[in-house]
Amino acid sequence: MKRTGAQIFVESLKAEGIDTIFCYPGGATLNITDALTDISEINQVVVRHEQAAVHAADGYARASGKVGVALVTSGPGATNTVTGIATACMDSIPMVVFSCQVNTMLIGNDAFQEADIVGITRPCTKHSYLVRDVKDLAKIIKEAFHIAASGRPGPVLVDIPKDVSSALADFKYPEKALIRSYQPTYVGHPGQIKKAMRLILHSRRPVLYTGGGVILSNASLELTRFAEALSIPVTNTLMGLGGIPGNHPLFLGMLGMHGTYSANMAITESDLIIAMGARFDDRATGKTDEFAPHAKIIHVDIDPTSISKNIKVDIPIVGDTRNVLIQMLKIVENEKETYRQQHRNVAEWIEKITGWKKNYPLTYQKNSTLKPQYVIERVYELTKGKAIITTEVGQNQMWTAQFFKFLKPRTCLTSGGLGTMGYGFPAAIGAQVAFPRSLVVDIAGDGSIQMNIQELATAVQYNLPVKVVILNNGFLGMVRQWQELFYEKRYTWTHLHSPDFVKVAEAYGAVGLRIENEKDVDKVLKEAFKNKRPTFIDVHVNPEECVYPMVPAGASLKEMLLV
């Protein structure tokens, strides 16, 4: 029996085990939209802006570990996805975005609602396809999901012309994607791993510097075991938070521009950096010439292009971080006695780090005003760390990274690489769809929340009880902070007028709450976390608070401005 492209699309998604898509319709989606009528196996969440569909798919993917799926129409629908796709690409999030396209005959003719979305997204996708023949559709979908989820994950775009979704073909979903030119390396080279282990044995001041790769490869347990087995302190990048429990004694906090004193000093004085699933981003390394000046560097990453890109490494290991950690743990297990000495070898180092942690903890000046850091501390305490947290971008994001202790992987969803304002709220919606019973909280800024505030309608329509804590400082705070520190307090463009967020929430049919002083924080947050409805909490925080420590752009990690 022949089926239409649209039916093939639906059957392929089912065969792939896709249970949720985030979508927005248009003329070019109609065949597929219609084929999805009454398909109860696939939860179809209709958003209010295509950018949000992609961020929601992204949040869904980060929280669940599954591939996120978005589906949009041609032209403006497709171009609206670009920021979402670029966000996912920078953070290596597995995702397939289906854009619909004008009829094949019209492609290239500047047809109504035509955009060359494959061309536009080429630099910000892992791969992309334009389906030109319905016979290829199932195979392309299979390949797209395989590419998105395997190796270093990333977004894949599949562009489906309208005549392809109406054309007829036989349907058979391929069992496997066979791509001769794409074979990621999963297992680390045993020789390299042996060399790395020898270096570790000879180190006296080792540091594990881990990133999003640990989260993506589900290696948190192995990482924690490895750190414990050899007594190696761990620092995380923003993307790596949750890779080791945030309250673990070996955890140093985040490193980099707004990293902790102990993390940045540990890197600076270390004699061996073991980088895992991290890519030496400039926000993490500071001035690269002075990054870890005394250290040898081992770098484990599934993507060879990440290795020796920004910083020359001594021992590269290409492989999946979880596999490599398992391989390393086996060596430790086999040579227990030898490796046990390592605890003694690093005792002095651990003592030094403990001193830094005690003498220079993350802190802020308490006064009569309501401090944003305090609000985040209370969110952590009241949820006991058992929440999925998303953030927007700016000070809100950095304070969350600093003051919320992420106890588990996949609970910190934040736009690290691209730094996309407007990410957090739709990502929270996606995470809530994946985990309907979990508490999902977006820690937002008054600027960022306006970038996708329309998704309140989506949250209300689908009864998604996400909580948005708006740290309302009346400023584009992070930019204001740079103006305060480096542009003599000329707050050009950064002073914001915002609407009454409580009323906005209520107008959409959500709950709006407000906090204006410290004593209301617990009461209102508890009330918000208890109710089963989407809720905005407008928190009026001290307007001119800054994020510290801060390493000025271009400075080395040890040149931190403290509180």
Binding site: S64, G119, R122, A149, S150, I179, S181, Q183, Y186, D303
Partner: protein, 176 residues
């Protein structure tokens, strides 16, 4: 440093734009690029000449390898290879310069492939040094137009650019 890189890529639309986009997007330099179908019609061979220090070249090779449609990448700076290029030159050919041109074409073992009352079109193949020498000698006679293909390259001896057998892919077992 100058490098010649050979690629085997899927013979599909859009592959060239992925490769050129990779170079332009990352600020890498393309000096020349040659592409055509290989013995296997599903595969194209591409020869790229690029410049950059070791670190840049390492990134170029890794990034090319990372493209899904790229099957194989070979950097010829590590192997002994031969490379040839072709140039077409249209030169002024007046009564008194014609013998001189003919002699030069003879010496460089070129060919005159088109003749008009006022010009010759000459084809020369060879390595870069040879083409350079020819061009500088013919220049005083008045070059009207010049087109070069950019080099194509091949390893010496038994070495070949071969595609590995299609293998089963270890699915993204660790990626949920």
């Amino acid at each position: 440093m100058r490098h010649t890189i050979s690629l085997l890529v899927e013979n599909e639309f859009g592959v060239l734009s992925r490769i050129s986009g990779l170079f332009s997007g990352r600020g890498f330099n393309i000096e020349s690029l040659c592409v055509a179908e290989s013995l296997d019609p599903t595969v194209s061979t591409m020869t790229i000449v690029t410049t950059g220090n070791d670190a840049i070249l390492e990134q170029i090779l890794k990034q090319l390898n990372k493209l899904i449609n790229v099957i194989k990448v070979v950097d010829f700076s590590e192997i002994d290879y031969v490379s040839r290029e072709m140039v077409l030159v249209k030169v002024n050919a007046e009564e008194k310069t014609r013998p001189e041109i003919l002699r030069m074409v003879e010496i460089f073992r070129g060919k005159i492939i088109d003749v008009s009352s006022r010009s010759y079109t000459i084809m020369i193949t060879g390595d870069e040094a040879k083409l350079k020498a020819f061009i500088s000698l013919i220049k005083p006679l008045g070059i009207k137009e010049l087109v070069r293909t950019g080099p194509i390259a091949m390893a010496r001896g038994e070495r070949m650019l071969k595609i590995k057998e299609k293998t089963d892919i270890k699915g993204g077992e660790s990626n949920g």
